[in-house]
């Protein structure tokens, strides 16, 4: 038996009610430890695909496998996700927000706090354990949201436009932190974005989607010629612009057959 990928998606299509086809025959995979991005224009079905992979939404047809086990339509504990909305509960302190998932998993309060405390330093939130989300900046809240996911130790992290609302320097900062964390822990990441630069900088592989209906038009292996995970080094690699341009053209072509991989 061959080793299964962290995520495999086979022939996923989705139609909401009797509306138009939003996703049409999507096939993709993510290897364990790989960083995979989806780029595509707004409305092409990225979030729909995201929700299908998380198991929160059932596809109209097709299958989702997580670590080789079919999970179609039901959330898997191996997957954690982060959205643009931080979804922190305003009535809970940061600490109690971070341990939400552990509470649901019925980890004891003391043990949950111990596990969470170990992360606060790495996420630059030490000293804010007892603050409420309303007292924190957008960047800090987004870090807390990532912590809430990471503390439950999922193998696979899904992110949907997680850094869209942040200003540029903060976005770079959080992307760096993300890379450090996921690479050190060997996590698989599926990253959804409309931002080509972000996709090329972070990813090992990029899938390009087109809209109406959402279809994969291209799959690009990114090799920036560096082993470094540092955002700076990757962004300034000489190969960066070629990848950027390829994806730009691919999206611009909107799925005309000559650019389909």
């Amino acid at each position: 038996m061959t080793m299964s990928h962290a995520i495999e998606v086979h022939g996923v299509s989705k139609r909401y009610g009797d509306g138009p086809l939003v996703l049409d025959g999507i096939d993709f995979y993510a290897r364990s430890g790989e960083f995979v991005s989806f780029v595509g224009p707004s409305g092409c079905g990225k979030s729909t695909l995201f929700n299908i992979v998380t198991g929160l939404l059932a596809p109209s047809s097709g299958r989702v496998l997580v670590n080789g086990v079919e999970t179609t339509g039901s959330p898997s504990r191996s997957i954690g996700y982060v959205l643009q909305k931080d979804l922190l509960m305003p009535w809970r302190t940061i600490m109690r927000n971070v341990i939400l998932g552990l509470e649901v998993h019925r980890v004891g309060r003391a043990e949950a706090r111990r596990r969470a405390s170990a992360l606060f330093d790495a996420y630059h939130l030490t000293g804010h354990e007892d603050a409420y989300p309303g007292q924190l900046s957008g960047g800090m809240r987004q870090r807390a949201a990532l912590m809430r996911t990471m503390v439950t130790d999922p193998d696979i992290i899904l992110m949907d436009e997680a850094y869209k609302a942040l200003d540029y320097p903060l976005k770079i900062q959080l992307e760096s932190e993300l890379m450090d964390t996921v690479k050190a822990a060997g996590k698989t990441v599926v990253f959804v974005t409309h931002d080509i630069e972000e996709a090329v900088t972070l990813s090992d592989r990029v899938y390009v989607l087109k809209a109406h209906p959402g279809q994969l038009v291209q799959e690009i292996e990114i090799d920036l010629g560096t082993d470094s995970h540092a955002i700076n080094e990757r962004r300034l690699a000489s190969a960066f612009n070629d990848y950027y341009e390829t994806i730009w053209r691919s999206i611009g072509a909107g799925g005309r057959t000559e650019v389909a991989a």
Partner: protein, 278 residues
């Protein structure tokens, strides 16, 4: 032409705002001014009333006077009757409120569990909510006697629908993405309920409780009007049947004081629950 003038007046008001906010504490100054004016209005009202009563151009038979009302209150305090009446009414209100408003809120939140049951019961809830408490109060007295129980039922009936509806609406408004997050952690429906729905709907629940402070006290007084041997409503209705306007109005003052005091209690509860908002 009037529309144009109104619009002008509005833009004028907007334009003056930045200038005002240059004051060091514009919000607190505004608040002080408001309270000052409110107190001044009450004092002026009482002064004119008393002046008219003394001068003879306001009939004390029809309208009583502040002085007479105070003397009735003072007398009822010395005899201890006032405390008895207030105690009786407060007991009816507190128990009825706990049953109706708190129970109604709990039911409204629990309806979140089943969209089907909620939709099924919706027209019945609306129908029950449209019944005036005055219409059913006499029946409650017949069913539950003239004592505490019937008043508690009447108070509960006055509160239950508003609290139920508010709590249900609050539960429905909890961010569906938050519920997805709970689900992604593998939460049970009960975990989602206790960790997301109940706290998420709490501001709506408290808004319902606040509305019900008034309804609860009205319910108790209405119950006492129909049949009672003590209570603030009893004080008002006996005064009314003997044309003692000073006693009626003294009762009204007590009712207002009770609504205020009860409202303050709910404000305290709100502050304790929403510490995170500040």
């Amino acid at each position: 032409m009037t529309a144009f003038q109104i619009e002008d007046a509005q833009t004028g008001a907007v334009r003056t705002r930045p200038a005002r906010s240059r004051n060091r504490h514009p919000a607190s100054r505004r608040r002080t001014l408001l309270v000052f004016l409110q107190v001044a209005i009450v004092v002026a009202f009482l002064a004119v009333w008393q002046w008219g009563a003394t001068g003879g151009w306001i009939s004390t038979f029809l309208f009583s006077s502040p002085e007479q009302i105070i003397s009735v209150l003072a007398q009822n305090i010395t005899t201890g009757e006032l405390w008895t009446d207030m105690g009786v009414t407060a007991q009816e209100v507190l128990i009825g409120f706990a049953v109706g408003a708190v129970g109604g809120s709990a039911l409204g939140l629990l309806l979140w569990y089943s969209r089907f049951v909620a939709d099924l019961s919706a027209p019945f809830i609306t129908a029950i909510g449209s019944i005036p408490v005055l219409a059913v109060a006499p029946m409650m007295i017949i069913w539950f006697g003239t004592g505490l129980v019937s008043k508690v039922v009447i108070v509960g009936f006055s509160c239950v629908i508003v609290s139920l509806t508010n709590a249900y609406r609050g539960a429905q408004r909890v961010d569906p993405d938050l519920l997805d997050l709970m689900r992604s952690f593998g939460s049970s429906k009960t975990q989602a309920f206790t960790k997301a729905i109940v706290p998420g709907a709490m501001s709506w629940v408290v808004a319902g409780l606040k509305l019900n402070v008034g309804f609860a006290i009205i319910g108790a007084v209405v119950g006492e009007f129909i049949s009672s041997s003590a209570g603030v409503g009893h004080m008002i209705v006996t005064g009314s049947s003997s044309f003692a306007m000073n006693q009626v109005l003294a009762g009204v003052v007590v009712v207002m004081a009770m609504v205020l005091a009860f409202g303050l209690l709910i404000d305290l509860l709100e502050r304790a629950l929403f510490r995170w908002e500040r």
